[in-house]
């Protein structure tokens, strides 16, 4: 954006404009024509196209220039020059200063409805207002003690050409797209790191167990007990790798599956889930609270509840106690808590547990893929909800996973980002 000097002589332009009888206000209140013309010459040489004179009460007394045609004489200036709403005290304060700097508001376009195409002009904003062409302007207000009033200059802001604006728009669109791309790339990079790191662990274990077997075979006689133990460990490690790969596939598929939204009777569904989960005899799973019928895709809701309950059972340190699944409706959400009385999760793990393959303790469930909570988090977020964990083993036992599940949820993966929407 630049401000260009006037192409034509400022005095001629001013004379032409001022010859229109726009000075219907109280012109006798001041006599500033000589200074006005002097100022206009100054302004013209600097590309200023409009001029207003205001009295001490900020009432418009004279208007010059097409750019200011929408300003009404005899009204407070902020009635028509809307950018000055709220600036009245600051304008008044100019006269109290010994060497006041002008008050400047650059780069504004006033867009009353009448300035828009006819079919757009509607509503109370159009009433009785002369049309403007929503010119973009710089507004500068001076205190002129010799005239006992204020001078407002309106300078037209030009774009170099329309292409400038188009280029700027393109740059903005690119910036949005780049930001989204950077976010996705970062996620991908993090994901690749976790996968490459964590899949190596069972592979490394396999190599060590194979070396143990080799060593046991080299003994005379071969150490069959050691071989047997290593073989069992190999089975556990391979099963874990299989589980990890299966979970990874499931995780990658999330968001690409089309899941139809339907009425889900949550109470019946959760009872079925509870009945299907294996657990130690002394570990109860109970359902409490209010379980309404909701509009949701069944599979993601099932995956969420099942994994949270399964996780609570699988990682319960003593295998004795209670896992409670509780729900209530709050606003537009189903608030779903899965509460256990296990050992708890240290706070430093509260974020990491939702990353793929991150596990606090390998010994409790050695074949676990470590992807269950990552699956849950991604599923909940794709459904438009949120999950949090509350636990502090330093103060008490137990963990609560809280899910906010929107009551009228959309099918997974049906929310593409639309860069066209402003």
């Amino acid at each position: 954006m630049t401000t260009h000097p006037m192409a034509t002589g400022p005095m001629a332009t001013l004379t032409t404009v001022s010859s229109r009888d726009r000075n219907s206000g109280n012109a006798a209140a001041f006599d500033g024509d000589a200074a006005l013309l002097e100022a206009a010459s100054f302004m013209g040489n600097r590309g200023v196209f409009g001029l207003l004179w205001l009295d001490l009460d900020l009432i418009v007394r004279r208007v010059y220039g097409d750019i200011a045609a929408f300003v009404r004489v005899g009204e407070p200036v902020s009635e028509s020059l809307l950018a000055l709403i709220g600036q009245e005290d600051s304008i008044q304060a100019l006269k109290a200063l010994a060497h006041p700097a002008p008050l400047t508001i650059p780069n504004v376009a006033i867009m009353p409805g009448a300035s828009l195409p006819a079919e757009e002009a509607s509503g109370p904003n159009t009433a009785g207002r002369p049309a403007t062409s929503h010119v973009r302007m710089n507004i500068t207000v001076f205190w002129r003690p010799e005239l006992v009033g204020y001078q407002v200059l309106l300078g037209r802001v030009f774009s170099q050409d329309l292409a400038d604006h188009a280029v700027e728009d393109e740059i903005r669109k690119r910036r949005i797209a780049d930001a989204e791309l950077a976010r996705v790339n970062q996620q991908l990079e993090d994901f690749a790191y976790v996968i490459s790191h964590d899949l190596k662990a069972p592979l490394r274990a396999l190599r060590y167990y194979c070396e143990d077997v080799q060593e046991a075979l080299d003994n005379q006689p071969p150490d069959l007990a050691a071989i047997h133990k290593s073989a069992e460990s190999i089975q556990v490690a391979t099963r874990r790798m299989g589980n990890m790969l299966t979970g990874l596939l499931e995780y990658a598929r999330l968001g690409r599956q089309g899941n139809a939204v339907e009425d889900v009777e949550t109470a019946a569904l959760v009872d079925d889930i509870i009945a299907s989960i294996g657990r130690p005899d002394r570990l109860r799973i109970v359902r409490r609270g209010v379980w309404p019928t909701i509009r949701s895709a069944v599979a993601p809701f099932d995956l969420t509840v099942r994994n949270l309950i399964d996780n609570a059972v699988k990682h319960h340190d003593i295998g004795e106690g209670e896992v409670m699944v509780r729900a209530e409706v709050s606003g537009a959400n189903l608030v779903l808590d899965v509460v256990d009385d296990g050992v708890g999760i240290p706070k430093i793990w509260h974020e990491a547990i939702f990353e793929p393959f991150r596990r606090i303790d390998d010994t409790r469930s050695p074949e676990s893929s470590g992807i269950g909570l990552a699956l849950v988090k991604r599923t909940v977020e794709l459904a438009g909800g949120r999950i949090d964990v509350q636990s502090d083993p330093d103060t008490e036992r137990g963990t609560t996973f809280r899910v906010l599940w929107p009551l009228g949820t959309r099918p997974l993966g049906t929310s593409p980002i639309d860069p066209q929407q402003p």
């Binding site: 954006m1 902020s78 009635e79 809307l82 950018a83 709403i85 709220g86 600036q87 600051s90 008050l103 400047t104 508001i105 650059p106 780069n107 504004v108 376009a109 006033i110 867009m111 009353p112 409805g113 828009l116 757009e120 509607s122 509503g123 109370p124 904003n125 929503h134 973009r136 774009s159 604006h165 700027e168 728009d169 903005r172 669109k173 910036r175 949005i176 930001a179 989204e180 976010r183 509009r295 606003g331 959400n333 459904a383 438009g384 909800g385 949120r386 906010l404 929107p406 009228g408 949820t409 959309r410 049906t414 929310s415 593409p416 980002i417 639309d418 860069p419 066209q420 929407q421 402003p422």
Partner: protein
């Protein structure tokens, strides 16, 4: 005559500030994106929230350049006389949520008594999404209103401005 109040829309680029205003003022949505450069000022009347029963509240709505970001807040010239701000974000772009929090926090610090409305736009892209992002929770807990809107469908656009208008009248700003 009721005094015209100044409302500003702030937020990152592309979140739909202009679309929200055009939906409110003109009652329609335009799908083509054209970024706001500088400031565009619109006049309108927020229906039914004026000081007298059934009266509208005349306002001038400042549509701002998202690229300007927090710089707008730092320039007293622009913010002076503002009665309320709508801080706008985009449901589908999480990075805009953090910017909302930053803008709202800075504004609250600079103008403690002025109403702020957190407006999460493009609800049509995330049908059913209704849980406010976590990054905004401290502000919401602190009493700042949150509304989910769609300039595309018009959902909650008028009510968002009415919410801001009521707060202005209530606090006589």
């Amino acid at each position: 005559m009721t005094q015209r109040r100044k409302i500003m829309l702030l937020g990152d680029i592309g979140v739909g500030k202009t679309s929200i205003i055009r939906r409110f003022v003109l009652g329609r949505f335009e799908g083509t994106y054209r970024g706001t450069i500088g400031f565009d000022l619109f006049t309108f009347e927020i229906p039914e929230v004026g000081p007298q029963a059934g009266e509208g509240l005349p306002v001038v709505i400042w549509d701002t350049d998202g690229n300007a970001g927090l710089n707008i807040l730092r320039q007293d010239t622009y913010m002076r006389g503002t009665s309320a701000v709508l801080v706008v974000g985009d449901w589908s772009r999480p990075e805009t949520h953090a910017i909302m929090a930053e803008v709202a926090t800075s504004y609250r610090r600079a103008f403690p008594a002025r109403p702020i409305l957190l407006v999460m736009n493009k609800a049509d892209l995330v049908d059913g999404l209704s849980v406010a992002p976590k990054v905004l929770e401290p502000l919401i807990s602190d009493g700042i209103a949150f509304v989910s809107t769609s300039a595309l469908t018009g959902d909650a656009i008028v009510s968002a401005f009415q919410e801001a208008g009521r707060a202005i009248v209530r606090r006589d700003l």
